[in-house]
């Protein structure tokens, strides 16, 4: 493995280790759906709230106030509902990933040449699925490990 890739892997591992020393706090995510979650519940909420105060005091406009207030309620309710939906969706997606990964791993295993000759087409499919199969297996392994840690630690 060349130096750049090795360096990236090392930085990634150090970053994961360092992350355990960072005190738990919210921070807006970057180009992830995590960003939208926290944006919806904190940043956007507080910005809108700022506008409400502006609307009712400085501007003194009932129309502006009610429009923004309506948006505040919508944003807050949406953020709360969204969070619950997201958490449920993540559980379902974990099951889908688990099933897909187990299926992929079985396929990758039985089409391995050590079990004898494999039809060319099956081998091509194996070759196509190999990288994503490994990456999904990595995610699956993380799901199982974290689940185990949560169960052990209660």
């Amino acid at each position: 493995m060349d130096k750049i890739r090795l360096g990236l892997i090392v930085i990634s591992i150090i970053a994961i280790i360092v992350s355990f020393f960072i005190s738990p706090a919210q921070l807006v995510g970057l180009s992830t759906i995590l960003g939208s979650t926290i944006l919806g519940s904190t940043i956007l909420g507080s910005t809108v709230l700022g506008s409400t105060v502006l609307g009712s005091t400085v501007m003194g406009s009932t129309i502006l106030g009610s429009t923004v207030l309506g948006s505040v309620t919508l944003t807050t309710v949406y953020a709360e509902t969204y969070l619950n939906t997201l958490i449920n969706a993540l559980y379902i997606a974990q099951i889908i990933i688990a099933v897909a990964t187990i299926g992929l791993l079985i396929y990758l295993e039985i089409t391995h040449q050590s079990y004898g000759n494999v039809k060319r087409k099956y081998f091509e499919i194996r070759n196509a699925l190999l990288p994503m199969g490994i990456i999904l297996a990595l995610i699956f392994f993380t799901i199982v490990t974290l689940r185990a840690i949560l169960v052990i630690t209660g």
């Binding site: 892997i9 005190s23 919210q26 970057l30 944006l39 940043i43 974990q94 490994i134 974290l146």
Partner: protein, 316 residues
């Protein structure tokens, strides 16, 4: 060999056309829908993406199937990203997982063209950045370090992919390129400061203060290095570079930037999508011009550092 200045001119023309159309459209839309109302974001982002894709389609005479394939995938990614921030988030995740498995399969079975295969597989890798989130328990979603772990995982996934497919660093422009390293880094820093400051005024981030400044700094640096490398290798290094081998250069830069913009839908701000798209074009032009990712990576991570450090030092 296409002329560099012509490519820059074509790319910027496309960008300014879409920006002007979008600004007028958004202004009219804003007259009828309140700014913070979520459907505004949905409608505006969808319209902007379709408009950008339409601009690419104008004047296409050859390789129609290839363009239709990428435009269809881009629209699927748009739907997936919009679903992920909607209450139908599960359908977004299902499309995501489906594409991750289907795109490489399709690429390998339907075509023997390695360039197309790597393009489609890099799109699948881009989507992996969403799937990684699924691996973690709900408590994790609200923690400061979640971003570090997600991007560290993504880097590991990218390196694993490059290793398995035996893709060299040179072929994804992960090397010095054809210009001075110092010049590229300085240029990247200047562009990054500009992009980061603009992004701050678009998003107006409010950062939660950590217990000590050293942790803030290490967090910001780690996240930004990881984000800069991961996203630039994926969008400019893999997707754009291999698209350039399939279609005119400015179309490749344009398409990669549209998809890059789409991945910023989660910010719930249509102007952030437009900004990311514009930044993607600039980074893409640098990647093409210098034949290297040095400037885009430097600009990306310095831009992100500025974006996060402005609120830490000047706002909070």
């Amino acid at each position: 060999m296409e002329d560099s200045s012509e490519i820059i001119r074509q790319t910027l023309t496309l960008f300014f056309l879409s920006l002007i159309f979008f600004s007028v459209y958004y202004y009219i839309l804003n007259l009828f829908i309140p700014y913070y109302y979520l459907p505004l974001h949905f409608i505006a982002t969808t319209a902007f993406t379709l408009l950008s894709l339409f601009l690419i389609l104008i004047g296409i005479k050859e390789k129609t199937k290839l363009y239709l394939l990428f435009i269809s995938i881009t629209i699927l990614i748009l739907i997936e990203e919009l679903l992920l921030i909607s209450l139908y988030v599960i359908y977004g995740l299902i499309i995501n997982i489906f594409l991750i498995i289907f795109l490489p399969l399709f690429a390998n079975l339907m075509t023997k063209d390695e360039r197309l295969r790597i393009c489609l597989e890099s799109l699948a890798l881009i989507l992996i950045s969403r799937t990684i989130l699924v691996a973690f328990p709900k408590q994790f979603l609200f923690l400061g370090y979640s971003m570090i772990i997600i991007y560290a995982f993504l880097i590991i996934a990218i390196v694993t992919y490059l290793y398995i497919r035996k893709i060299s660093n040179e072929s994804i422009r992960l090397f010095k390129g054809n210009s001075s390293l110092t010049f590229q880094i300085i240029l990247g820093l200047i562009v990054g400061i500009g992009v980061g400051t603009t992004e701050y005024f678009v998003l107006k981030l409010k950062v939660v203060i950590f217990e000590n400044l050293l942790l803030v700094f290490s967090y910001v640096v780690f996240v930004m290095i990881l984000v800069g490398f991961a996203e630039e290798i994926l969008f400019r290094g893999m997707l754009q570079t291999y698209l350039e081998k399939l279609m005119p250069k400015f179309h490749a830069i344009f398409l990669a930037s549209v998809i890059f913009g789409l991945m910023h839908i989660g910010w719930l701000n249509p102007w952030e999508v437009v900004l990311a798209y514009g930044a993607g074009l600039i980074f893409g032009l640098f990647a093409y011009y210098f034949n290297s990712l040095v400037t885009p990576i430097t600009a990306h991570f310095s831009g992100n550092i500025i974006l996060y450090l402005i609120p830490v030092f000047f706002v909070s």
